[in-house]
Amino acid sequence: MKLNLLLLLFIFFSKFSFAAEKTVDPNLIHKNLRCLVCQGQSISDSNSDFAQTIKLVVKDLIDEGKTENEIYEFMSDKYGDWIVFKPQFNTQNSLLWILPYIVLIFGGFFIYSFLKKRQ
């Protein structure tokens, strides 16, 4: 019985995850792209000519079957990393992504050894 329930749950959630992988939400991409001609606005927030064009291109890229990351790569290639709000994981940005985990590990270790010494 338990096994069946687990199997059912697995199928249910895996179906969800596959569906999530397949569909690319254009609004999510618009929110993560910077409007280069606006002041601190995303493509989603802006009605500028530039934003309208980018929205059309994003739609075309989705129709071509490009993934979310491929669309960000395409935009970064044309306009530089600045256009993407969420920085991509590459050699230049690696420190930005890895540093919080390093600080967390070292901080935890430091606090642990500090408390142990006090005891």
Binding site: D49, L56, K78, G80, F110
Partner: protein, 171 residues
């Protein structure tokens, strides 16, 4: 232990100062320098009179091509127009004008009044082609060679200095 704490505090302090320094001195304006020496994308764009298409192969025939994005509604395009007219007389350079999000009738009026400097004239009705070239506002011009490499990109109207710069490159 005290020593380690001091070192860590000093490290964090220097790190924060370093981040502030880099962030405050960094130029956040859109910069085209990363595009120099990059290859232009393959493209196929409809001619202004809808009679044929221009492709990357048309560019490969010329030593140098200046792709200029313009529109009749764009005031800075009028400012740079005399420079484009001067450049159109240079034999080593082909001008490809891409009319951007414009009405055909108004674009024709613009060219008949100010002169047509373009050897090849195309149009980008919805602006999608402009994204392929990393254009975010007009006028913008891209100087490329026959290998389709970007030699120079000019954001905004071409100035007298830009003209001299182009002449130096193509001659």
């Amino acid at each position: 232990m005290q020593k380690i704490i001091k070192i860590i505090i000093l490290f964090i302090f220097l790190f924060v100062i370093g981040i502030f320094y880099i962030s405050l001195t960094r130029d956040t304006n859109y910069n085209t320098s990363s595009l120099i020496n990059k290859k232009t994308p393959e493209f196929k764009i409809i001619s202004f009179d809808n009679s044929n298409f221009y492709t990357s192969d048309d560019i490969k025939k010329n030593n140098y091509t200046l792709i200029n994005f313009w529109a009749s509604w764009c005031a800075p395009c009028k400012i740079e127009h005399p420079i484009l007219m001067k450049l159109s007389q240079k034999k080593n350079l082909v001008l490809l004008g891409i009319n951007f999000k414009d009405k055909d009738s108004q674009a024709k009026t613009f060219l008949s009044e100010l002169g047509n400097p373009y050897d090849l004239l195309a149009k980008d009705k919805n602006g999608k082609h402009s994204v392929k070239f990393g254009i975010y506002g007009i006028p913008e011009s891209i100087l490329i060679n026959k290998e389709l490499m970007i030699i120079q990109k000019f954001v905004g109207p071409l100035s007298a200095d830009d003209y001299e710069n182009i002449i130096k490159i193509i001659e």
